[in-house]
Symmetry: C2
Subunit: 533 residues, 2 copies
């Protein structure tokens, strides 16, 4: 039985209206509960989800891939085989699916997208296990970041895409007064036309959270999407694509509007797809190296990247020293610092900082931060729940390298090292993973602006009790082109952003070309074409 | 006396609100009267404007240009000398003006922009003479396209830029419920930050109309703008920049938010400026050759181009043969076809077309179109008012070349030549100027889609009485990626678009990368940066 895109839209219309409202107001809102408790998702959700996940292991993942004749299995801890299609077949299938998807219109497409998200939410435990096994995140984090928060970010993209692409009315009546005669009249129709085949390149640490905004923004604006997961984290996106195809089929549409593109490690299929003349949109999260390459080489496409940078904390003064230390310790430790938002460079003046617990020199601050880390991570179960696992050997190698630097303040995960401004070669590298630096500098705001302008950053945090200093820090952040958090001492952390409220990333510095999810993130994905009569 | 940006905003608030409303509704609206009559602009406006224009001739144009030590004079029919600044000085001055402009905020900047437009409108007769003398347009056309319509397009860009850049609220309050505790609360501030120095590269045929959208969109979104006119049409933009600087100064701002960049013909200053690392936005109207070069080489900038293509008319049938012929004749003749929107390729099936005046073969249609052109242009005064003058030798050369082709249907301006589908090398070239082709082809929609997808187009027109054919033509236009007009037989012409209603251009085909003025035209010009506490 077919449920038309329009029927899906009607089914989810209230949710979509509310999401558009929330994305405009940027206050607190969430559509998908982040608590894995039984009182929210029901008694059976957890065991059923885990069983569904276990059933996928050791088998061929049930999904149709255009032109697939072989399978690949690339994940370290999940023995799943995925059908592998040829790039040309994937692109041809996406092109063939385009006219029907265009004809569904913005509202129909948003309805289909909302139904996909509802079904992803219904499979949230299964997805959380898939995220956990592929990324090494603790289960609750995988459930939240990989499940509910990813779905919220997806819905945010749906909302922004639907709102922006329907601002120009589908039909308008133009009537121009003419002196001494009837007015000139025209009826004008506007149609949203997608830019072309879209490619979403997933990352290994947040396979769903970082892929959903681009996936849903491209879908709602009329583009077919090829989803290319990182070989280390295929399963969460394979489930996602499976759900997309299931809903598309039920809507009477060509399921090849969304396809899965897998590869053997190192095969380079992302580069092949991204530079194909028919691929017109690329979303990428990952290394600066490949992100920069895509920006330089995928010239036929609009390229949205989230790369890496020097997330910075400026320490001036605080009215809650213990709260600040606890907050920082958690930010450095969460998922072993393997977040694109984890602070790397902590800047402090040689004179130290004034706090409610007295004046603290840089050495005292370093020792206190180290102690706060030890305290946070002293309980093994809490440590495991916070740190999760190291995702790959590259992170392990950086961790080992950092431990050999002089000035180590905290020797185990997360490693913290004290540096001087002259150690620029060290602190202007991005040390993705649990490595941070306490840098003593007489001019923290200047160093902040200069390094972030040049190397980028996704987050910045300032601690100060001085309104004057905070004003200067805000101006410095505007000059650096980075979002700023101020005086976080409680349950909000610099590495977390909230869908429908916080923008994540910005094209204003080299770490990204996009902001999740503002108008610029969607308006490059479609054209509005008019006809008049 | 200083009038603050906020005061300018308050002065023009009603107009801006109305403009935002009109740009969203896309129905008929205009802020600046297009009639040069005394009843609209007053007794003295015409003589005063002409006197002001005459006073500029033979003199150095009164404008300050950063670092200028010499002057240049490059216009053929207007002996005016303009101060010439060095690109590095212009960019340094623009950068220095940026912080104050950022601090003015979106509403303050829109207020300044609206005041600039009000003063440009007050100088509309002077501007019309400046456009006429530099472009060869007839006076009424210069007044309308170069004056009122350009100002409307400028205000449309102001409206879209203000609406889009203020969608994310300047202040938002986030309050997340916590189980068994106080909610987490954050105050969030959002600031619009311009992308960087903007460059507007003007063209020789519509120096104001094609420059105002980029100029005003960049200004309102927080960017300083360097205006680089075509050496053949400097005066209209010099007056514009003069007005901008006058208003900026009165607002207590650095006038170098807008500067004028002139050059000797062939100096190549546009390329130098466009590829400077600090230039982050480029707006260009002109040849495909230089537009493509900018897209390929101004990699550090977002590049909005309007280039050239194969504007196409598909002739299937009509219920008003005489109206169709009159309408086409005017479209081909207006400003001697020197509009980026003038039809070039008229497609007709070998079987001819059904009309209310009987069936017409391609040969009969060609003869009738030729007769309609003769009739339109038989009165010398009306011919002069319609055709204007040829803008340069390149157009003259193409006109001469076209006259030597076999199959000439109309030998004088505008030249019309009959071609076959096999003459693809001829009709897939863009013949900017008064040269059009009647192409007999059994598959007009296929030829239309194929050639426009490959070579681009700014306009397309279909004549048909068949709803089925019109549906097919609409689908073909969506596939080709071009706006479509249908059955124009009266006072609306395919080469004219109306601000606040018609989108002009689209990135959906190779002739442009921008649409005047949709959201995508403005959202790439700024970033929204948040701070939260």
């Amino acid at each position: 039985m077919v449920t038309s895109p329009t029927e899906f839209y009607e089914r989810h219309r209230d949710l979509l209206d509310r999401a558009i409202e929330a994305a405009a107001a940027r206050d607190y809102w969430s559509a998908y509960p982040e608590s894995p408790s039984k009182s929210v998702y029901g008694e059976q959700a957890a065991p059923d989800g885990e069983a569904a996940f276990r059933a996928l292991l050791g088998a061929e993942f049930p999904i149709e891939v255009p032109g697939a004749t072989t399978t690949v299995s690339t994940e370290l801890d999940a023995d799943v085989a995925y059908p592998k299609g040829d790039p040309d077949d994937l692109i041809a299938a996406a092109r063939a699916a385009t006219p029907g998807w265009r004809a569904a219109g913005p509202h129909g497409r948003a309805g289909v997208a909302a139904e996909i998200l509802a079904r992803l939410n219904a499979r949230i435990f299964e997805l959380a296990h898939a995220v956990q096994v592929t990324t090494g995140q603790a289960f609750v984090m995988a459930f939240q970041a990989g499940g509910a928060h990813a779905q919220d970010r997806g819905l945010e993209a749906v909302a922004v895409a639907l709102a922006e692409s329907t601002r120009i009315p589908a039909v308008a009546h133009w009537s121009k007064p003419q002196r001494g005669g009837d007015p000139l009249r025209l009826e004008k129709t506007s149609t949203v036309v997608g830019r072309g085949v879209a490619l979403v390149i997933g990352c290994t640490t947040f396979p769903t959270w970082n892929s959903y905004p681009g996936l849903f923004a491209s879908l709602v604006t009329g583009n077919p999407v090829i989803v290319k997961p990182h070989p280390g984290a295929v399963l969460p996106l394979a489930i996602t694509v499976q759900v997309c195809r299931e809903v598309l089929t039920e809507a009477g549409l060509d399921p090849n509007v969304v396809t899965l593109a897998v590869e053997q490690r190192g095969e380079g299929i992302a580069a092949t797809l991204a530079t194909h003349p028919d691929v017109r949109i690329v979303d990428f999260t990952g290394s600066s190296e490949f992100g920069d390459w895509l920006e330089a080489n995928a010239r036929q496409a609009v390229v949205y990247t989230e790369k890496a940078g020097l997330n910075t904390v400026i320490l001036d003064s605080t009215a809650d020293y213990q709260g600040m230390l606890r907050n920082l310790a958690f930010s450095l430790s969460l998922y072993s610092g393997q977040m694109c938002t984890t602070p790397q460079n902590l800047l402090i003046a040689p004179a130290g900082i004034d706090t409610d617990a007295g004046h603290k020199s840089p050495a005292e601050f370093g020792a206190d931060l180290s102690a706060a880390l030890d305290k946070l991570l002293s309980d093994p179960q809490r440590a495991a729940g916070t740190l999760g696992a190291i995702v790959n050997d590259d992170v392990r190698a950086r961790l080992a390298e950092a431990g050999t630097l002089p000035g180590v303040l905290h020797a185990t995960t997360p490693v913290v090292v004290r540096l001087d401004p002259s150690d620029e070669k060290t602190y202007t590298r991005e040390w993705f993973g649990p490595v941070s630096f306490v840098i003593t500098t007489p001019t923290p705001l200047e160093l902040f602006t200069r390094t972030v302008r040049q190397h980028g950053a996704l987050t910045a945090l300032v601690h100060s009790t001085s309104e004057t200093f905070l004003d200067q820090a805000r101006e410095a952040a505007l000059d650096a082109g980075v979002h700023l958090s101020e005086n976080l001492t409680g349950g909000v952390f610099v590495n977390q952003t909230s869908a429908f409220s916080d923008l994540h990333g910005t094209g204003a510095n080299p770490a990204a070309t996009a902001s999740l999810s503002d108008a610029a993130f969607v308006t490059g994905r479609y054209y509005t074409l008019q006809s008049r009569r």
